[in-house]
Symmetry: C2
Subunit: 277 residues, 2 copies
């Protein structure tokens, strides 16, 4: 593991690190905010998964999360959204290939050799973090924005017991039925849709739900509402009687101005779960 940078930030440290990923077969970069409390022992962890076109850097610089994480003594992990490098397959479209890993393990060429983001986020990166930093991996929460909200929700429901709480900002909720989803799941997983369901938050909610609290914020003026389909997940949550708070926020769009506005609430929500019991 290589240290790219470390900056003092809200009494703790905002670091950027890279490492050779065995899942993705390339050098991967991630951001990690450690609060001051990490100097004295392991702290709880909140994962933040980013959206289309993002790297590890977007949320780290624009989501205004570190101040609230410092207040609650929580670490923040900011992974990249896809494998990177000259020999990694890509597409001209912004929503396929680099910057658009969709948090799945690709089974199809040309994506298969590198696009194993599910394994990277679910297994490889947590193991690396646990080995190298003062993190309490028994206390993890997960959140994300847009494609990252999709990742957070699908990881949380597929890995019961792993995360105590899950939240999302304007998540892609029903990729099997959206142009943000069908194209990518076809490319990465193939045309047989039976393999898609574990990567669709709405279908997962209908099938199994989440064993903890959920918080979702969605801007009512989001320019991508037709692709995000909040109504699909919202309905599934209500049908299941899933413990959840779903907030439709009037006036807000899809930008980081929306994300940063409600970050305080999301970090506090996770802190409640991470410090309970």
């Amino acid at each position: 593991m290589k240290t790219i940078s470390e900056n003092a930030c809200f009494g703790g440290t905002q670091g950027v690190y890279s490492h050779q990923s065995s899942s993705c077969n390339c050098e991967m970069t991630f951001g990690l905010f450690l609060p001051e409390e990490a100097q004295n022992g392991p702290v709880p962890v909140l994962w933040y998964l980013s959206g289309l076109t993002c790297t590890h850097e977007n949320a780290m610089t624009k989501a205004a999360a570190q101040g609230w994480a410092a207040e609650h003594g929580i670490a923040l992990v900011f992974p990249d959204t896809s494998p990177r490098g000259d020999d990694v397959a890509d597409d001209e479209a912004y929503d396929l290939g680099k910057g658009a890993g969709f948090y799945v393990n690709a089974t199809q060429d040309p994506w298969k050799p590198h696009f194993q983001m599910w394994d990277y986020i679910a297994d490889e990166l947590p193991a690396l973090l646990a080995e190298n930093f003062a993190l309490d991996m028994e206390r993890q929460g997960i959140t994300g924005h847009s494609m990252g909200g999709h990742g957070a929700l699908t990881l949380a429901m597929n890995l019961p017991g792993r995360y105590r709480s899950v939240s999302a900002f304007a998540p892609i909720t029903n990729p099997s039925a959206s142009d943000w989803g069908r194209k990518q799941l076809t490319a990465y997983l193939g045309e047989d849709e039976s393999g898609w369901s574990k990567h669709d938050a709405t279908l997962l909610m209908a099938e199994k739900g989440f064993d903890g609290p959920i918080l979702i914020d969605q801007g009512a003026n989001d320019q991508f509402l037709d692709l995000l389909k909040p109504e699909a997940l919202s309905e599934a949550i209500a049908k299941r009687r899933q413990q959840a708070i779903f907030r439709m926020q009037p006036g807000y769009d899809h930008s980081y101005f929306f994300v940063s506005t409600f970050m305080e609430d999301h970090v506090a929500f996770h802190a409640d779960a991470l410090y309970a019991g």
Copy 2:
């Protein structure tokens, strides 16, 4: 005036606008955060001047200021740092020309036709803002980072009565004696150093001081300490018995991780002054 974008943000609106500037003879862009309170009448204004290489956008996305401004019902103005456009003179160095206006009125060619940032910030932009937005121009404060801290301090001391409070993050304090200053003041104002003194916060502090409170934060691990020279202004403040708080912050560098960390304190500091009396 043209609206580039408006995003809901912390209950208010983060806007970006452009206009033909008569001072700079080019199209200029600025950011303006208006808190919810601006819907009911004029609100106080806090100016944020940015540093070298920045545009109107850096602080707007990375300084995490809007949340605190919303809490105090204060507007934030984010001007650009120089004139822009294909016919505007530039230099290959990052610290001269575009992105490096240094908040002066150039008297020398090739800079003179466009680089009139002092007039732009002191006169033209305030008049435009007063005409178009619900801002209480009797209640203004000013802050900035690095070159923008230099701008904030020099504007505040040269325009007594204009700003109720001034603060700065890692300001260039003594440009007459620094490589961040001598090069630019020579280029923009000419070799006669007598014209430089109104653009040197340390000299201004010795000569006249500021008729209100000052807050300055400086990171002790700032990679540019030799250029910023905090000791020069610090000494001048103490000699003058100027009302001021100067904080040397252990561990912090020159980045926006430093700026965002202490933004809450700066906005609260200005709010105290803006709502007093």
